[in-house]
């Protein structure tokens, strides 16, 4: 017995020594860390809202929203500090929106996603696809933004959170009215609606009788079975019970849950005659083609966006043929870039046209090179043939 007391006391003593050391260190380092975070945030604000004058902070359930004003007191935009529930804990990020609700930029503050996998959300190519989108856009994976394979959960979490944040900002600060459906006004009948879930569209059938939703049935879905059970039948039950679409979707399968809610909403909207934006097939980009025969001999420079930044190429044309393609500058990851270079230049020179296969280990870089070459040649044509002839 005395032994146990002695042992416990010793351990407690060691703990106390440890705690006091840590407290002291925390007191020294914490202000510096906070100051640095603050400075980083300020720099980010300056970056997104150049020349801003001051901001007012509003706290909502969803996060912190800073309303940014210029010198004249006009609203420049809103900086949201919110968290998305990622694969492994919260992804804290800033979303900068202009006064129209359009996204200016995304800034990841901190996350604990798997290194090398989930941290692709930090890539510029992922973040930049949100720029220019607003609450009016679907901001849905596979529609107007791309999910990153291999890091589906992290990317989907960001996409969904960004969509919600744009809506929260629009409703709270930009005075955008949200279309509310009055279930009582929906005529009796059975309606079908669909919305994007986690893995594909979720199609539901909603039965309305006497101004009440009496049944919700999922007709089609492609969700992962082990997750989907977390949301179904829970979410339909909640909607029926509360007769409202404003149900808590934070389940073990939040994205599926939201998919169900959105599908029901779409079904009801259609029922009351509000037009639902249907998914448009992405427009296939017309392959740009340059007639090589028209390009005068010479050396031309062109650039296009690669994966990490611009790729600058120098193209030499002689006798209506591309004789050399040289990469002057790029910011791609070397390990990936060599999957595309010199393969792609070689392919272009071999085929002497631009409809080549860019599916390499570094497709984005490969397309960057291709587009840079096209840029160089179309520049050559537009300049009346003179170009930047050396």
């Amino acid at each position: 017995m005395r032994d146990i007391i002695k042992l416990s006391l010793t351990l407690a003593l060691v703990g106390i020594i440890s705690a006091s050391l840590l407290t002291a260190a925390h007191n020294v380092t914490d202000p510096i860390i906070q100051e640095r975070r603050e400075a980083d945030y300020r720099a980010a604000l300056e970056d997104f809202f150049p020349g801003f004058d001051h901001f007012e902070t509003e706290e909502l359930d969803e996060g912190q929203f800073d309303l940014i004003y210029d010198e004249d007191g006009d609203l420049m935009g809103i900086m949201a500090t919110v968290a998305a529930l990622g694969y492994d804990g919260d992804i804290d990020y800033n979303l900068a929106l202009d006064s129209e609700g359009e996204i200016i930029g995304v800034r990841i503050i901190a996350h604990t996603e798997t290194p090398g996998i989930g941290d692709v959300i930090e890539r510029d190519s992922f973040k930049e696809q949100f720029v220019g989108k607003s609450y009016e856009d679907p901001i849905t994976a596979g529609e107007d933004v791309d999910i990153i394979s291999g890091a589906t959960v992290s990317a989907a979490a960001m996409i969904n959170s960004i969509r919600q944040t744009t809506q929260v900002v629009a409703e709270n600060f930009l005075g955008v009215e949200v279309v509310e459906i009055d279930i009582a006004e929906v005529p009796d009948g059975t309606y079908e609606g669909s919305a994007q879930g986690f893995a594909g569209p979720i199609v539901v059938e909603v039965e309305v009788s006497d101004g009440e939703i009496v049944s919700i049935e999922v007709l089609e879905q492609e969700e992962t079975a082990t997750y989907f059970v977390e949301s179904y039948p829970l979410i339909p039950e909640q909607i029926i019970e509360e007769q409202s679409l404003d149900v808590d979707t934070q389940t073990g399968a939040t994205i599926s849950a939201e998919g169900i809610v959105n599908a029901v909403e779409n079904a009801l909207m259609e029922a009351v005659g509000i037009e639902v934006e249907t998914e448009e097939e992405p427009v296939e980009e017309e392959p740009v083609d340059v007639d090589l025969g028209e390009v005068p001999d010479g050396t031309y420079e062109g650039s296009a966006e690669g994966f990490m930044g611009p790729i600058v190429v120098e193209v030499e044309v002689a006798g209506g043929e591309i004789v050399s393609i040289e990469i002057l500058d790029h910011e791609e990851t070397p390990e990936y870039f060599r999957e595309a270079n010199p393969l792609i230049p070689e392919r272009i020179m071999e085929e002497q046209h631009f409809d080549i296969d860019t599916q390499t280990g570094a497709t984005a870089s490969a397309e960057g090179i291709l587009n840079a070459v096209l840029d160089a040649l179309s520049g050559a044509l537009n300049n009346g043939g003179g170009g930047e002839e050396n």
């Binding site: 002695k6 351990l11 050391l21 260190a25 640095r36």
Partner: protein, 208 residues
Amino acid sequence: MEQKNIYIQDLTRGILKENPVFVALLGMCPVLGVTGFLFYGFGMGVATTLVMIGGALLVSTLRNYIPQQIRIPCFIVIIATFVTLVDMSLLAYQPALHEALGVFVPLIVCNCLILGRLEAFSSKRPVLRSVSDGVGAGLGFTLALVLLALVREVFGQGTILGPDPESAIVLFGANYEPIGVFAQPAGAFIALGLLLAGVNLFMKRFNI
């Protein structure tokens, strides 16, 4: 003189003769994990050395008060304290390094090198000798990390003092194709194996 020699012996033993990495093969996780760049390897070595010294100091000071039965939990708490101290300091003063080392900083807690030296040496010897030993083991660990990181950065990236483009020195010109495998964890194993062979040869040759 005799006394002084002991301290120097304690200090130098860990650097070469009983190098934690090259001879004892302890603490392999960070050795393989963060040696992609010289700066990271050096930073990790210094962080581990600081924890090592702090741990040695406190453990040998308290060695007569810590009962045998609970020595391991006490050691771990002490190590964890210094690791957290280092973690906080890095976050405050070297944020870029902190971000690069990532999870490997908190993982110093379970670096078997530290617990091993504390258990085998510091818990049985006076403070000064323990600290000498801690400094020696830490320096030996740093040396190993720096050497390995040097090999990996030079061959795997073709630079020295990267990844910060301001300080990075490109060694072989723009046309050099880095040997990608050295940048990967698998390459760390290969590089470590080659280094181990080299060090063993060296030690045999000079009878260390």
